[in-house]
Amino acid sequence: MDIFTTEIIKDSLVALGDEMFNAMVRTSMSPIIYETTDFAVGATDAQGNLLAQGNGVTAFLATLDTAVQSALERFPNEGDIRPGDVIITNSPYLGGGTHLSDVVIILPVFHEDILVAFTVNKAHWTEVGGTEPGSVSTRATEIFQEGLHFKFLKLYDEGRINEALVGIIEANVRLPESTLGDMHAGVAAARVGARRILELIEKYDRPSVLHAMVELLNYGERMTEAELLKLPQGEYEAEGIVEDDGLGNGPFTVRVKVTIGDGKMIADYTGTDGQVAGPINCSYTGLVTGARCLFKAVTDSEIPANGGCFRALEIICPMGTIISAQSPAPVSLYYEPLIAAIDVMWKALAPVMPDRLPAGHQRSVGATFLSGNHPDTGELFVMGEPLVGGWGASEDKDGDSGQFCCANGETFNIPTELFENRYGVQVEQYAFHDADGGAGEYRGGKGVVLDYKITSDVAYLTYAASQTISRPWAMEGGQEGSNNYALILRKDGKVERHHMCTGIAVEKGEVVRLYTGTGGGYGDPKRRPKAQVLSDIKNGYITEKQAADFYFLT
């Protein structure tokens, strides 16, 4: 086998992630998949080592390979997994697990009856049943309230679809057409990947492709090792909080000690608070994902992610914490502690890696759900979307304004024109706000204010954010950012503030106003050149009062 052929097979394996990604975006029924791209696709080798992953969100980085690894534990004997099988799982506490809404589809790829790979996708289905529309709750106390739970079931058995399972799904979700559409899209995307792997084997032969898989993993390991050696060796610590579990408990602390040395990075989360009563728990898979994200950000973010890249990362955390929760902890808001886990590692390392890591950002998905009936058709809608906010400044640049948080990625906001058509709700503004925060030699990016005016008789708001009291952290003497929160502007003129709420009725003509945080600043604001401050005033990025108060502009 010559080196260039191996290279070409490796590239084809990496390209497969993108091909599956496109198939998934194009076929999905749910805006949360096709606009938010709240999904990941990819392939593993026959042992569950990640070969390639398609762009979706960062927060699914450890969910494909660990899902396959758990599937192999669930089906350990030869013949347990057969050609034509498709496995489905959404179990939070096992491999691939996040919350029940994120469903994993695993397709074993056989060549001449020999298992050569798995193609996998994990996607956020709009509805998996449970107490609340959209299957996300801020007040669940057990996982049983959060929807249907599939624990490594065969969705297809040797090519035959499991009608009983499909029937159960259909009867237990609020929007069966959309949910089953998501399911079919997931299988279709997995098949696209499987077809490509078989084409490669037909072209080059099986040993060559299997050899290229091994080489691909080794390449990821080599590239990462080289990057690790460039990083400042040592021990770094940080902590942060998750404010509220939805039931009024909190705040909860997430702690980390990062050690870089001997060609390894160890992220030790010992000391993090225990799992909580409300649904703001994250499973161990989520934690692995979080640590991998930051690890990737400081090694080389350009190396295609594969299992080899993460061999040098060790993650330590006792079970039963808010980031390693055990059954039957409710987990629907798992992503908030997951982001906190990323953020503490980020905060620990940023001071020594300012070229790769900016100051703190809005640090919350800010997931917002509205459900109600469309004013034109009376049909039920369930709208779910993440919010954009401000990112932190870095050592040589202002932060970005109006971007999704670090757990997202190729995530798109829903255009107002589509939003209004689909939900009937009127969007009244989508703009930067001028709350205090983020001042610095380099300015934190702006957070956003977004107004939804309800036009049907009543709609119900579910909202969950963190960093509602704590603020995006600053660096080198910059100013902290601002908070995430939601307001309801009532008809009688009253204004309610929410950080965590489920199913709050909002009536016709009332407005839901969502604020997202401005990112943290970098460096002493006094060092910002006066011309720059004047330009900020002219552009409305800061007010004259802020210029006087924080930049001492006279």
Binding site: I3, F4, E7, I8, K10, D11, S12, A15, A23, R26, T27, S28, M29, Y34, T37, N55, T58, E177, G181, H184, A188, R191, V192, K203, R222, M223, A226, C293, A297, I303, A305, D355, R356, S394, K397, S401, G402, Q403, N408, G409, E410, T411, F412, N413, P415, T416, E417, L418, E420, N421, G424, Q426, E428, Q429, Y430, A431, F432, V448, N539, G540
Partner: protein
């Protein structure tokens, strides 16, 4: 005399041929090249005309394609532009879609908007998603706003209001008022540029249009006056990204429609040529110095999309432009692409290119990096004695030096390194070709590969082998094929209108009404352009359809029934078929139309192309020489090298062979058969009986 000029990054190509209207006979196609002359591109055009010895007074037709728009955008050389939006939405341009394609880069910055925040103003107004004006626009602050913009030195204003794709009333009120208060400034409303929803995309498109509007006007006017000054009496036509040409008036009104005119004309020329020679299913490949562009033509039909971006790549969301552009995939792989090894020991080719300056190492102009062209020289595929048309003696010492790091890094010989570079470059292009074919449900075996551009002929056969495409077509004049294509196009306007609507019999009248109003608009626009009133407009009816509940659409050509009305039952069937082909499954769900799409074409009379002359000379007379060529997996062979210019229709021969022209080299590996058709195109039949790899 009919002529077309294509302004490229380095050269301005001119293609022309004689046409005798009385005899109806056309002469052979001729070519001239001049240097491109930024920023006064029209000078290069005139230079090429002079170089060819053409007299504009004798020209009956002149079409022109130019990179002036894309250059103004990518080099940020447009005018100072302001934006007026619906109150509460001026930051949409900066928020964009909030995405971060460079997933794990936490120090990411998104592209800066083309209008700074202090030039983004708002007016109080509102149209609903049903197209009703909820609040007429309050114009009272406008006069003061214009004074402010004037004082800031603004030269163009874009206006973009929510739901203006459905109802342009409020936007038009602002345009009218600005024309009254400040007639000198360029004003463009989103509803004039795009009638599709998605406010960020439409707003950005309008902003970019406004940004280049005065420049495009100036450029076109100066070209017109230079041509007229030398006696050209006809109006020139401008090439657009949708594969058609436009009158100068239409191009000045909507200059963004010219943003990708170069690639478009090549793709449409491929469709035209394919139609002429009976090849209606084509995979199109255009390899230049820096990039390769791929497209697919199914049954003679070039796909045109409005999901187009500039500066978008794996790391950047780029800038969307909602204008009809032929659907292409472009990758950073061309003749000048640089090969390099990363820290993990992996060989890459591109996307960096040595460009024209310093160019590949072999040029001897100080290039120190190994390129694809250098590799082809090492392998004997490019003739060392006829490099760059014989104008350059390749500096092989510089080539060897340039390859030294790869040879050392991978522990391979020079030949092995060169093979590796070509193989990786081919693999990159194969992946791009796959994106337009297999990834969309097409089987390459049902297609022919048509390859052009400076590097098309060099790689075509190897790529066809990879994809199992049975036939390769390298058109005559392949290196100036895009310019040639402009002589073959028609006037074309595309009209897209977002209007979400269930595809159901009870909506048949709405379909008819919407298409009628688009047809009326087309007629009015052509009338306004000063197109001959007697010219017949040919219409094509398309729609972007989806299953209810999905977001992304597929484009379907709408079938007509015997009465000439849209056949909705047949439309649904067709949609299911197209959808299943692309995505491997179909649903039972209802089908919804999102965009109406009308193509309005006016045919430009085109004289038949001249056939290549047959003098009856023997094949042995057109052999230049024999030389050793490395065909990689096919081995090293003594290959016969033919003089492309002297080859005559009807001639045929087997590989290993090379067809050499001054600006193109066609590599034919062993086993495949090449022939020359009546027009001088090269046709290569691939033989797959012996496994290539």
């Amino acid at each position: 005399m009919r002529a077309a000029s294509d302004v490229g990054g380095t050269f301005t190509d001119l293609v022309y041929y004689d046409y005798d209207a009385t005899s109806g006979k056309s002469g052979p196609v001729r070519v001239a090249k001049a240097d491109t002359t930024p920023p006064n591109f029209e000078q290069g055009v005139m230079d090429s005309i002079h170089k060819a010895g053409l007299k504009p007074a004798e020209m009956t037709f002149f079409a022109h394609g130019s990179t002036v728009i894309i250059n103004a955008l990518t080099e940020r050389k447009g005018v100072k532009t302001a934006l007026i939006t619906t109150k509460g939405f001026r930051d949409v341009l900066e928020i964009a879609r909030g995405n971060r394609p460079d997933l794990f880069n936490f120090n990411f910055r998104k592209p800066k908007p083309f209008v700074d925040r202090y030039l983004r103003l708002e007016l109080d107004e509102r149209t609903t998603y049903k197209g009703a004006v909820q609040k007429p626009v309050d114009l009272s602050p406008l006069s003061q706003q214009l004074d402010y913009l004037k004082a800031e030195g603004v030269e163009a204003i874009a206006i973009s209001f929510l739901h203006a794709y459905l109802n342009s009333e409020n936007e038009q009120a602002v345009v009218t008022e600005i024309n009254k208060l400040w007639p000198e400034v360029s004003v463009l409303a989103s509803s004039e540029i795009s009638r599709e929803w998605r406010e960020y995309e439409r707003t950005n498109t309008t902003v970019l249009s406004a940004y280049v509007h005065p420049i495009a006007q100036k450029y076109i006017e100066s070209l017109e006056s230079k041509l007229a000054g030398e006696g050209f009496t006809e109006p020139p036509y401008m090439m657009q990204s949708n594969g058609g040409i436009a009158t100068v008036q239409s191009a000045k009104d909507n200059p963004i429609s010219m943003v990708e005119s170069g690639p478009a004309s090549g793709i449409f020329a491929a469709a035209y040529l394919g139609n002429m020679i009976g090849e209606k299913n084509l995979v199109v490949l255009d390899i230049g110095g820096t990039t390769a562009k791929c497209a697919l033509i199914e049954d003679g039909d070039v796909k045109v999309t409005t999901e187009y971006y500039i500066e978008k790549d794996a790391k950047s969301p780029g800038y969307p432009i909602q204008t009809p552009v032929s659907e292409i995939v472009e990758i950073g792989n061309g003749g000048g692409s640089i090969a390099w090894i990363d820290t993990g020991g992996k060989l890459h080719v591109g996307p960096q290119s040595a460009g024209a300056m310093p160019g590949p190492a072999a040029y001897g102009r100080g290039g120190t990096k190994p390129t694809t062209t250098d590799s082809n020289l090492i392998l004997g595929r490019i003739d060392k004695d006829c490099f760059v048309g014989g104008e350059v003696v390749p500096d092989m010492a510089a080539v060897e030096q340039a390859f030294a790091p790869i040879m050392a890094g991978l522990g391979v010989s020079l030949i092995e390194a060169a093979r590796g570079v070509v193989r990786i470059a081919n693999a990159n292009m194969t992946n791009a070709l796959r994106l337009v074919s297999t990834n969309k449900g097409y089987d390459p075996r049902d297609f022919a590969l048509i390859a052009f551009g400076g590097g098309g002929a060099m790689h075509a056969v190897a790529l066809a082998e990879e994809l199992k495409i049975p036939k390769v077509i390298v058109p005559v004049n392949s290196s100036v094929f895009s310019a040639w294509g402009m002589l073959l196009t028609d006037l074309r306007r595309d009209y897209l209108q977002t209007h979400p609507l269930l595809v159901a019999p009870e909506n048949a009248h709405l379909f008819a009404d919407e298409f009628q109003s688009l047809k009326d608009k087309a007629q009015a626009d052509y009338d306004g352009d000063g197109v001959d009133g007697a010219a017949e407009i040919v219409f094509e009816y398309l729609a972007d359809l989806r299953y209810v509940g999905q977001e992304h659409t597929v484009k379907v050509t709408l079938p007509l029934d015997s009465a000439g009305d849209i056949d909705l039952a047949q439309t649904i069937e067709q949609f299911h078929g197209v959808y299943e082909k692309r995505y491997s499954y179909r649903l039972d769900g209802a089908v919804q139309l999102v965009n109406f799409h009308l193509i309005a074409r006016i045919e430009v009379p085109k004289p038949p192309l001249a056939k290549k002359e047959i003098t009856g000379r023997a094949l042995s007379d057109v052999i230049l020489h024999e030389r050793v060529v490395d065909f990689d997996q096919h081995g090293i062979h003594q290959a016969t090298v033919y003089d492309g210019l002297a080859l005559e229709p009807g001639m045929g021969f087997d590989g290993p062979a090379i067809i050499q022209e001054p600006s193109a080299t066609l590599v034919i590996s062993p086993g495949h058969r090449a022939s020359v058709d009546g027009y001088g195109n090269y046709i290569i039949q691939l033989d797959f009986t012996e496994k290539g790899a």
